[in-house]
């Protein structure tokens, strides 16, 4: 089992999901808990399930409600008056959003706890800095630094949007994509890893497919270490699907079959 990235052992990848019940009832060992929480970071559906099951446990708790002993309130209120409150996390440091930066997982300088520790604006700044570095190292020569910065800022804006949420999907033929969507920004950030290398004549292309038909988004840059660096896709419309296909390098007017990914947004 590798801790970084999406790859977790086969049985572990299958197993965590069944832990949802035990997890919300605290019926698991601390190591299992941590493992499952890492799984939740990557699996929106599981996180939603956990949230729903928690409501059920709240009702189990409610069924036990018992008046606390007299005097408890005074003690708690007195203690509260002398207890400093934890400051709020700024939106950017919201754990789910921080986790949404899926591709950062592969970057060893930022270990998971460090990323969690990054707070507020510092997170956004660090993210932009990283993406810029990443873009400069990986982007094509003629791409201007300004473009990278603009794109990185757009990416950061999506990642730090209040409604940003991440979806992870397997790609037909191999690989995984992480997509962070922000409805309020009508945009998403796409990244992928482990994609199957294509012949030199073909490349991966992203599409938005809506009720009015398919719109090509862009040919993705060539794989670097089987990863696709973050791509911003803006101008989302209601009912759009995000589709990934393999196309001739020059691009196509219509998406080729098979769709290697068809994600409802």
């Amino acid at each position: 089992m590798k801790l970084s990235g999406i790859t977790i052992g086969r049985n572990a990848a299958h197993e965590p999901h069944t832990l949802a019940g035990a997890y919300v009832m605290d019926a698991i060992a601390p190591s299992d808990r941590a493992h499952f929480e890492r799984h939740l970071d990557r699996c929106d559906e599981c996180a939603r399930e956990v949230d729903g099951l928690r409501e059920a446990t709240a009702r189990l708790a409610a069924a036990s409600a018992t008046s606390p002993p007299a005097g408890l309130k005074e003690r708690v209120m007195a203690a509260a008056a002398q207890t400093r409150q934890q400051p709020p996390k700024a939106a950017a440091a919201d754990s789910r959003t921080a986790m949404a930066s899926g591709w950062l997982r592969g970057i060893s300088v930022l270990t998971w706890p460090n990323r969690l520790a990054l707070a507020g604006g510092a997170f956004a700044v660090a993210l932009i800095a990283l993406l810029v570095t990443f873009g400069v190292n990986n982007g094509s020569m003629q791409q201007q630094l300004d473009d990278d910065v603009t794109s990185s800022q757009q990416i950061a804006a999506v990642l730090t949007a209040k409604d940003a949420h991440m979806t992870t999907r397997q790609v037909l033929g191999g690989g995984t994509v992480d997509v962070v969507v922000s409805g309020s920004k009508d945009a998403l950030v796409f990244t992928a890893k482990g994609l199957r290398p294509l012949s030199a004549a073909r490349g991966y292309e992203l599409w938005l497919v809506g009720p009015a038909g398919a719109r090509p988004v862009e040919m993705l840059p060539p794989l670097s270490d089987s990863m696709i660096t973050p791509v911003i896709v803006s101008g989302l419309r209601p009912g759009d699907h995000l589709v990934l296909t393999a196309e001739p390098v020059g691009g196509s007017a219509h998406p080729d079959q098979p769709m290697m990914l068809n994600l409802t947004l």
């Binding site: 069944t18 832990l19 949802a20 019940g21 035990a22 919300v24 009832m25 605290d26 019926a27 698991i28 060992a29 939603r48 949230d51 729903g52 099951l53 928690r54 409501e55 059920a56 446990t57 709240a58 009702r59 189990l60 708790a61 409610a62 069924a63 036990s64 409600a65 018992t66 008046s67 606390p68 002993p69 408890l72 309130k73 003690r75 708690v76 209120m77 203690a79 509260a80 008056a81 207890t83 400093r84 409150q85 934890q86 400051p87 709020p88 996390k89 919201d94």
Partner: protein
Amino acid sequence: MTVMDSQGSGEPARPGHQAQGADLAAQIVLVARGDAAAFDAVFDRISAHVFGIVRRVIRDPAQSEEVTQEVLLEVWRNASTFDAGRGSVMAWVSMLAHRRAVDRVRSVQKETERERRIATSEIPFDEVAEAVESGLERERVRRCLGTLTELQRESVTLAYYGGYTYGQVASLLSVPQGTVKTRMRDALIRLRDCLGVAE
């Protein structure tokens, strides 16, 4: 609602969970800003809930009181971390309370192997002293627990009310761990649906 409170306490029927929950969530926001009056009001809404589940798990009254105090103080301290997008205040508070209760039980357990070995037949999921929550709510939970299979119900009650890990539950029930894990999840999904938990 015309259903009589089974406690006969004459409490008025409770308004919907939704409206109450939204109101409570708004108060937590105020608590996060250091509003002591809001915390006072929140205390009145959640303290019985917290003490109830903590005592159910820990049993010992003195320790239960201590842990309850810790949990309520944690609500004050960490109010800013409450995320309404993830669920209700009660779900959040129950999580804090249950987790601390279980942690306490397990740390005590390490020193002295727990003496109580609850036979599953004795799980008193309907036994509640001095309950303040309306009898209606308790009745609903009991009815929903009744819709579970025996193994599901035992797994849930041993884990949630008993504070056992799924491994311990598996050995208490002499069932494979994998089975218990699955039953716990199935049971909670069924309870969630039966209780009409709002997403």
